[in-house]
Symmetry: C2
């Protein structure tokens, strides 16, 4: 496989399998390419079927090349998860800071948005909250640096909804854990294929909103 020897002008008529062969020995931005390829592979066939070897092949690189950019398979997964937390965090913060929305609307937006995010990116969500990453000492420092503020933000939102009397519960931390558990559980049950009818996830989300909102409010 000496595809890196060919000059740029000669690398035109090559087999489709080598379509993504790079012109030079050094890839240039392999780390980013690996992340991209990994995300597309995961979206195509699920996390559990992602192997470093298939990933390397798709990136047009040898089996062990990824090890120079990620110490581990776990390290790679953590990096992808971190990206997911950033995306989700931005979206949640944006809705919460929208001055045109009432607290009630924001709460509904949070619940439905969370579950919708998980439903639209099931494999990525599975990765972000899967046991493989968080169990034991598997989580990278980078991942924790991104994820913890995300969790903290949720806590602050819950606290604000409690303060304006929209939702009940005494201890904000416990309340936050319950509500987070609810959206996480609904998302998980749906993603994992336990809820048989998947079309009504929106209805379930709205039902959760109604059950948490104070009737007196």
């Amino acid at each position: 496989m000496c595809c890196y020897i060919v000059g740029m002008n000669l690398s035109v008529n090559k087999s489709a399998a080598q379509a993504n062969a790079r012109p030079s020995y050094h890839h240039g931005d392999l780390r980013q390419s690996l992340l991209m390829a990994a995300k597309s592979l995961i979206a195509e066939a699920g996390i559990e079927s992602l192997s470093l070897r298939k990933l390397a092949e798709r990136a047009g690189v040898s089996r062990t090349a990824p090890y120079h950019h990620f110490s581990d398979k776990n390290d790679l997964l953590c990096a992808i998860a971190a990206e997911g937390f950033c995306r989700r965090h931005r979206a949640a913060a944006q809705a919460f800071d929208d001055p045109n929305l009432s607290p009630r609307d924001k709460f509904e937006q949070f619940i439905c948005g969370y579950i919708q995010f998980a439903a639209e990116n099931p494999e990525e969500y599975e990765l972000m909250f899967g046991r493989n990453i968080w169990k034991q000492k598997n989580s990278t420092q980078e991942l924790r640096d991104v994820a913890y503020p995300c969790f903290q933000h949720q806590l602050e939102m819950i606290r604000s909804w409690q303060q304006c009397g929209l939702i009940g519960g005494d201890n904000p931390l416990r309340t936050s854990q319950v509500i987070w558990g609810t959206v996480h559980g609904i998302a998980k049950l749906w993603i994992d294929g336990i809820y048989t009818d998947s079309a009504q996830i929106e209805e379930v989300s709205l039902c959760a909103v109604k059950m948490f909102i104070n009737k007196t409010a």
Copy 2:
């Protein structure tokens, strides 16, 4: 490895590695032995580290022997999960049918009992509700036959609590999905190691109970 040749009277002074070697070629009840060994292996080191080969070795049998009792690794896992559903179902039904408990007590018992079951048997719970088993067409008919009545029973309990005005929500199915989601989510977040402080799982459960119960009741 001709350990099955030795007569019963000669099989006394053997190495510790062959402690669980059986006296005859045919095991007798290998299927049950495999289930037992699998459960203990899972409890020891988690599901993901369970391999059929290690399992066979612990059962004192060759690598491929399990394939005559389970068509698949997945088949074995489904069988273990089915056992878990039976246990959980019995416990839940027993509490619900206790005539000495008020509806409120039963509800609290259900929420706390569910989460406690998951917390005490994290690996088994992970197996029962893990994606590997339910995703795609992986679930065995046997597993579904055991699990679906379990889900149905939950729905009926929720419906009864709604009818006596203990909890809100209109559509019983949706309400059931939300509450199930809540306990499942709390359990999962704890099992997967995302809640940092694990000692207060009881408090979280009680907070969930309070948030769902109607204030007017």
